[in-house]
Symmetry: C2
Subunit: 337 residues, 2 copies
């Protein structure tokens, strides 16, 4: 649906997390990405070569991907001239922002003149039914978090790979703009009208064979004061048989607010309590911890301690090879028994 | 914002609850409504005179209000000709459906030709920030429910009246399409993009004087598999100091799904547990029970039994005079102490 190769635009975002769209695409689809375009002051870096828009064009970029987000998905005014320059160079534009690209006159006019496509991947250009709560066939794994941006998408993508490697039939189901760019399909659930959150997830993950696993990307956190409603609607629509809790152990407060992080135990308890409304058999099958801020010994100690405390495989699927495979083996053993 | 008087269109909906928009307007703004238009087979009745669209026009109706809803807010094709007839007679149209009236070519063309306004009251034509979770000044009362359609809007409107009668400064804050039609302002929260549920409610109920009460209309139920995400985002954004649980005692399953109703105690417990994220002082101050399906003795017995069980004033504010006043007195005593 979106032409490749991509050139990734990072704007002038103040930290790495704000560029997680770009970083995610590079991690999971490196061969689709030829470089990055950054404005002065940008504090994020995907590791790809820095390019001007003219460089990117002469190197064959087909789509200018806005790979950074502000809280609330606002498009800063001073990014518009870069977008128009890319359009004038003949590139399509893909955006995961809430605002539709064509709502900005300069962008709409440039795209019409150049005859290029504008992809608003956060907008589902279809309507949904409200949720039914009826149990669907097939198995479902949902990643949930102690906060936003704790590795839910990465863990889900890693679990798709690991379940397939273990011989299971598994599909990643994207619920966020980066996931949609990586998977080429899915729904940016946070832009669906609130009434249809659960119904959209029911549509995204339909009936399947009894031994098929949908690996559904979680969003937000049940403990985040801005986004818990999204997380709960997604949980109810997903009807997960299994959850993996994703955690970043060095964070003091939840992203963009002053609230403290919940404990992993609180997240497991509340997710199971609330999730049992649409799947009473819901259980926790693993913990996925982003240990990037710890040295290796501290990381291994933490994983071992959390595994002892919670009694499920506890891994960092990005840092340590085999982690997602351990959870996959545990899942398949649990659900074949 | 919307011209009166109204003529209320009920379509051919199969039950009274599906016409709750029209019924609510008649109950709270009777002097704005001159009659109802019904199609063959309609099972709802507001009690207003039945009229043809020509009758309504000659009686001075200014706005044709679509006062009935289907699950999911779909507009049935066979309602379109009635809407076009009203437009051709010179009336504006107000709709609480998810679909925008102008998205239907016959309606858009008729409105352009007649020069009348189309009001999509479910659509907030503004954007919001994401929630901050920061505690706001002033007091807030939120109505919550064991299900959808259990009297949350009625109870909130009755509590606005009762708190004002008891000498408090109070404002009803509408979060649904009927509430917006009754209050002339508000947000249909179920149509806000999921990411902004809490932020929209924070905007709807801003900082206020310490002794001011916002009475916020609840939506859905934390136990409804389709709508719990909306209910939770609304709860977190509302930051209520006080909740009233609304209940319909004869319902066996939740509206439009096969799930059983939770108990009142479960709703109190879960609302307090989840609501404490943004207001740790949240407490239950009353129960509002729709006893219409019970005879008077059974209704009084039930109210007394529930009051004994839960220890808060338990009333039917529609059926028995003084009920909402008892809760208002309790609230003011609790919060002055």
């Amino acid at each position: 649906m979106i032409d490749t190769p991509y050139i990734l635009f990072l704007g002038d975002v103040p930290d790495h997390l704000a560029a997680k769209t770009a970083v995610g695409i590079v991690d999971w689809r490196p061969d689709w990405c030829i470089g990055q375009v950054r404005l002065p002051g940008c504090q994020a870096d995907t590791g790809l070569p820095d390019m001007t828009i003219a460089d990117a064009s002469s190197n064959g970029a087909r789509t200018f991907v806005i790979g950074a987000v502000n809280p609330g998905g606002v498009l800063p005014d001073h990014w518009i001239s870069s977008i128009v320059e890319a359009i004038d160079a003949g590139m399509a534009v893909a955006s995961g922002l809430h605002i539709r690209l064509e709502s900005i006159p300069a962008i709409r006019q440039a795209a019409a003149k150049a005859g290029v496509e504008l992809h608003n991947v956060r907008h589902a250009d279809r309507s949904f039914a409200t949720g039914s709560g009826v149990k669907r066939s097939g198995k479902r794994l949902l990643t949930v978090g102690t906060d936003c941006a704790t590795g839910k998408k990465y863990t889900a993508l890693a679990m798709e790979t690991a379940l397939r490697a273990a011989g299971a039939d598994a599909d990643f189901r994207a619920t966020g703009q980066t996931g949609v760019l990586i998977a080429g399909r899915g729904i940016a659930i946070d832009a669906v009208p609130a009434d249809f959150i659960s119904g959209a997830v029911e549509w995204l993950s339909p009936d399947a064979a009894d031994d098929h696993w949908d690996v559904i990307e979680g969003q937000g956190s049940l403990f985040h004061p801005a986004f818990a409603g999204v997380s709960l609607g997604l949980l109810h629509g997903a009807q997960p048989d299994a959850i993996i809790v994703c955690h970043e152990p060095t964070r003091a407060t939840m992203r963009n607010v002053n609230h403290p992080l919940p404990t992993i135990g609180e997240v497991i308890d509340l997710t199971i309590r609330l999730g049992s409304l649409t799947n009473p058999a819901i259980r926790c099958v693993g913990l996925s911890v982003n240990t990037a801020a710890l040295d290796e010994a501290a990381a291994q100690d933490l994983l071992a301690a959390l595994e002892g405390e919670h009694g499920v495989p506890t891994v960092d699927p990005v840092r340590f090879a085999g982690g997602s495979g351990r959870i996959a083996d545990h899942i398949l053993a649990q659900f074949s028994a």
